[in-house]
């Protein structure tokens, strides 16, 4: 009998697409989390499949490489009995000069129901959503948003801490280039958490505090009193663009190791959206240590994506004025 005290949310889902957390209300976020909580059990069954999305088609349209997110969406669709097609941009007709919108129109001519889109440029899923009748899910657009990642992070925090409201969450790393950071800031602040962002000044976007977060450049400040430490991946190209002197320097100033973790709360959670750069933002002993919930995040991501697919499927029934059986 787990989490029986969770209040029941009766908001209804009315959106066609999931593009970001910025536009969602706290109630809508709670509805997704509650639905994910109900769907999680399916992945623990011997037969991991329910017929809810039978006959629906999901297209994974990834213009940037991804293993975790793409696989997570694929399994989420399959466990709800939807069919799924994976399209990687490298092997697509885009390389023959087709525009993104032409490609989407052609995919829609196959009568698909969902487009899961990742693109290096911010706003591409939004552009597609305006032109597509399918439900569009943003699986990461540039440095803008990655809503399902932030939802699975919120789900994991709630699972481990029992609540989100009032918790101190510190996001540490390359805030400027991180869509995970942006979606989490939108989501967690709406849910009542106190969010701190921390990183080198060169990786901190100007005026970020206008999103309602505290800014610090000292990692010790971000660790002290935090209930959750959310580490972000430091990409090698940041060094090439001279935003950080070296990965070694970053590790010395911002990397989380056992020594730094001594300044943390005894029940702190260590989170990372993956893939982890071991020995840069996170020492291996911490990534694999008792405070780490990194693999729980992956498990929960599946339930959250199933919830998003299920909720969105409820709002695409008036296509051509018909109800699709």
């Amino acid at each position: 009998m787990a989490t029986t005290a969770t209040p029941v949310h009766t908001t209804q889902w009315t959106r066609k697409d999931l593009l970001g957390l910025r536009e969602l209300s706290a109630e809508e976020i709670h509805l997704i989390l509650q639905t994910a909580e109900s769907l999680r059990e399916i992945s623990l069954r011997p037969i991991k499949k329910v017929p809810a999305l039978r006959g629906k088609t999901v297209v994974n349209l990834f213009f940037e490489p991804s293993t975790r997110t793409r696989t997570s969406f694929e399994l989420a669709a399959k466990r709800l009995s939807a069919d799924i097609v994976n399209i990687a941009a490298q092997s697509s007709s885009l390389s023959k000069g087709e525009t993104v919108l032409d490609m989407v129109k052609n995919l829609e001519a196959f009568k698909v129901n969902f487009l899961v889109i990742r693109h290096a440029a911010a706003g591409v899923p939004h552009l597609i959503a305006r032109h597509a009748t399918s439900a569009v899910i943003n699986a990461g657009d540039g440095a803008h948003e990655h809503p399902t990642q932030a939802l699975l992070d919120a789900f994991t925090i709630k699972e481990k801490k029992g609540r989100i409201e009032g918790l101190n969450v510190s996001i540490i790393g390359d805030i400027a280039h991180s869509r995970v950071a942006r979606s989490n800031i939108w989501g967690l602040t709406k849910l009542g958490a106190h969010v701190t962002v921390c990183g080198p000044p060169t990786l901190m976007p100007p005026a970020i505090e206008q999103l309602g977060v505290r800014v610090t450049y000292k990692v010790e400040d971000a660790i002290k009193g935090a209930d959750v430490l959310m580490l972000l991946r430091i990409q090698h190209e940041r060094q090439e663009h001279m935003l950080i002197p070296s990965l070694r320097e970053y590790r010395l100033r911002y990397g989380i190791d056992a020594q730094r973790l001594k300044g943390a709360k005894p029940d702190v959670l260590i989170m990372h959206p993956g893939p982890v750069n071991r020995g840069v933002e996170l020492e291996s002993s911490v990534a694999d240590g008792p405070y780490s919930v990194i693999l729980d995040q992956v498990t929960n991501g599946l339930a959250v994506r199933m919830a998003v697919l299920y909720l969105l499927s409820g709002n695409q029934k008036d296509e051509e004025g018909l109800l699709h059986a």
């Binding site: 639905t35 059990e41 011997p46 409820g314």
Partner: protein, 191 residues
């Protein structure tokens, strides 16, 4: 029939009638199963799950053996999912035991078209292979659309399609009763 609590409503079961019906069903289940060995109850959310809990208590009080109880959410198995918008809220299925080779009694509040039971049968067969599945309902109101019948019935209540049967239970509602209500004309069956 006793007069209900509103205009056009009539009460077909009060708290005492409801309690007696569940006690009788508990006795019938024990009698038919010759005890409680290999027996488990699965209630269909929302009110069927509470009725299953109550039945399990009744059975244990009579036979002095605990009976496993689970709760089943059939939302993901509905045959009208693609016809209703937005999608209904999903609750968790919580069946903390293996159904395989058990005799399962499905429990629901009202048996009507039979479509919920069809969905529940499919859901259960995804969870295991029971030896047998029976059905217990508090009220059978008729109008079946599928070849389904109940093995245990609290009360047969003839109704018209212009009526709605409402079961209220202490666990969720302010009252404990079964009431027949007239549907507002606008929400009646469409051609």
């Amino acid at each position: 029939m006793t007069s209900g609590n509103g205009k056009g409503n009539s009460r077909v079961m009060d708290a005492e009638g409801l309690r007696r019906a569940l006690t009788r069903i508990a006795h019938e289940i024990i009698e038919r199963h010759k005890g409680t060995t290999g027996l488990a109850l699965v209630g269909i959310r929302t009110r069927g799950a509470f009725l299953a809990q109550r039945l399990a208590k009744e059975i244990e009080a009579i036979d002095h053996h605990p009976v496993p109880v689970g709760a089943l959410d059939i939302t993901l198995y509905r045959d009208d999912l693609s016809r209703i918008a937005p999608n209904p809220i999903v609750r968790a299925t919580a069946i903390p035991f293996d159904l395989t080779d058990l005799s399962i009694v499905l429990v629901d509040d009202v048996l009507f078209t039979g479509r919920t039971i069809r969905a529940a049968l499919n859901a259960i067969s995804d969870l295991g292979r029971p030896k047998q599945i029976q059905l217990a309902v508090l009220v059978d109101r008729g109008h079946r659309e599928l070849p389904i019948r109940a093995d245990y019935v609290g009360k047969n209540v003839p109704t018209s399609l212009q009526e709605h049967v409402e079961v209220q239970l202490n666990e969720l509602d302010e009252r404990e009763e079964v009431v027949i209500k007239a549907l507002a004309p606008a929400t009646g069956e469409k051609p």
